[in-house]
């Protein structure tokens, strides 16, 4: 009988840990979906900018300026723009590599 209860206890703990894992996976999935949505929007925005740009047939310089501005905006909205993690969400604070890229320009 005792064995059975310990077994049951173990089983319960296992289920608990599994459900915790499931929960964390769920939150992660939501976060990823969120991020995906944001990124999609960003891409749409940038694409539209690009369309406007090409429609106006601006000079090369203004084009690259616009690009930098876009990158700057992306960075300020909380995404990496460095080649390492481009487009990923910046979870904590600034990134040395993004900053050095922006500052170089």
């Amino acid at each position: 009988m005792k064995q059975l209860t310990t077994l049951l206890k173990e089983f319960e703990e296992k289920i608990k840990s599994l459900s915790e894992e499931l929960n964390s996976l769920q939150t992660r999935a939501y976060a990823l979906e969120d991020e995906n949505e944001k990124l999609r929007k960003e891409i749409m925005d940038i694409y539209q900018y690009y369309l406007k740009d090409s429609a106006a047939v601006k000079g090369k310089q203004t084009g690259s300026k616009q690009g930098i501005e876009n990158l700057n905006r992306l960075y300020n909205e909380g995404f990496h723009i460095c080649n390492l993690h481009f487009g990923q969400f910046r979870s904590e604070g600034d990134c040395l590599f993004c900053r050095s890229f922006l500052e170089k320009r």
């Binding site: 460095c82 080649n83 390492l84 993690h85 904590e92 604070g93 600034d94 990134c95 040395l96 590599f97 900053r99 050095s100 890229f101 500052e103 170089k104």
Partner: protein
């Protein structure tokens, strides 16, 4: 297998290896330590398939053989043994192990050594030799800046760059970066090489290096690195991938340059960090011609403001740093004074020892508006 040992000798070997044993490993044999009795030596080996340590001890061997014993319990037993002659005997049929000490004995169920992975052997034709003391110091000054986030494996390690006459160690978590350079003339190494060594490996190595005048020899395999100390060998997998170009991150030139006492800044920052808000955890630094003010403010608790004397060149400025990032570096700089170079409140700052050019720490400020 039968060996006669002292407590210290056995305990040393097991302690060196025990830490790499992973309790979560799916292979039961890997939660054990391999003991192998050869000609006058006992070889103790442990691995989690990422890192492996092999420690060879001179020992009175009565009968050769090998056994795998559970690491945790073996470590605990050996540490608690009395300081008397210890006889360890293994039944070669079922691997039951008897540890005899004085009038008492301890029985432990062992496993066959056949299933234990063999550590890869590496060609020692091209070896880099460094003084343990120096390498220990290099690891200490760099490894804390590595990331602990397993999602970005490259940043959990440190880049080791071997040049013609220098060895560089670099680590970053993208918020700060530590770079330590060591001049190495005649290091015996002819190749230029750069590899990413896992942080765990360097921490383990740091633990087992005694740093007393001896050398550490480093050899490279295809995707492995071996550190050889007298009596001990540590083999580790390298982290694959391209380490980012760290040179682009180090700012060239600055607008404000200050010099101050390392210890004073460390102590002031530690006090200020007590009040730094949880989460953002920053301290504010204001630099004027006369002094540096370190302040931190927590609306619910109170505020702190400290002033330190400094030598200053250039513009007055204001900047905020994560107090942990600041404290980490101040703890490992061993010169009395440091130089802090800043360019406005948004650009990364540089911290380096006042003397010598061998260490640079780049730290990103926190934006305060």
């Amino acid at each position: 297998m039968k060996i006669i040992s002292t407590k210290d000798s056995l305990s040393y070997g097991i302690q060196v290896c025990q830490r790499v044993v992973s309790s979560k490993n799916p292979l039961p044999v890997l939660s054990g330590i391999l003991l192998k009795a050869g000609d006058g030596t006992l070889t103790v080996t442990a691995t989690d398939l990422e890192v492996g340590i092999e420690c060879t001890l001179p020992m009175d061997i009565q009968e050769k053989g090998a056994v795998v014993l559970p690491a945790r319990i073996l470590g605990d037993i050996v540490r608690k043994l009395p300081d008397v002659k210890i006889v360890m005997e293994v039944n070669s049929q079922n691997f039951n192990t008897t540890i005899k000490y004085g009038q008492s004995e301890f029985n432990l169920l062992g496993l066959s050594s056949e299933d234990f992975p063999i550590l890869p052997s590496i060609d020692f034709s091209s070896v880099l030799t460094i003084k343990q003391e120096l390498f220990k110091n290099m690891i200490k000054q760099v490894i804390f800046a590595a990331s602990s986030d397993d999602n970005r494996p490259i940043f959990t390690g440190a880049l080791m760059e071997i040049g013609e006459d220098t060895v560089k160690l670099v680590a970053t978590d993208t918020h700060r970066l530590a770079l330590r350079t060591a001049k190495m003339e005649n290091n015996g190494f002819e190749l230029e090489k750069s590899v990413i060594i896992p942080g765990k490996t360097l921490n383990e190595l740091n633990r087992i290096m005694t740093g007393e005048g001896e050398d550490v020899k480093i050899a490279f395999g295809e995707n492995q690195i071996v550190f050889e100390l007298p009596g001990t060998k540590l083999i580790s997998r390298l982290i694959e991938g391209q380490f980012p170009n760290y040179k682009q991150v180090v700012p060239q030139g600055c607008k404000t340059k200050i010099k101050l006492k390392t210890k004073e800044l460390l102590e002031a920052t530690e006090r200020a960090s007590l009040l730094a808000k949880e989460g953002s955890n920053f301290v504010k630094i204001t630099i004027t011609e006369e002094n540096m003010t370190i302040s931190s403010n927590s609306p619910e608790i109170g505020k702190i403001e400290e002033q330190l004397p400094i030598e200053m060149e250039g513009e007055e400025t204001q900047i905020a740093f994560n107090s942990k990032y600041l404290i980490d570096v101040l703890k490992v700089i061993d010169t009395e004074e440091i130089l802090v170079e800043l360019t406005g409140s948004l650009s990364p700052g540089i911290i380096k020892p006042a003397e010598g050019q061998n260490y640079i720490y780049v730290i990103l400020p926190i934006r305060i508006v």
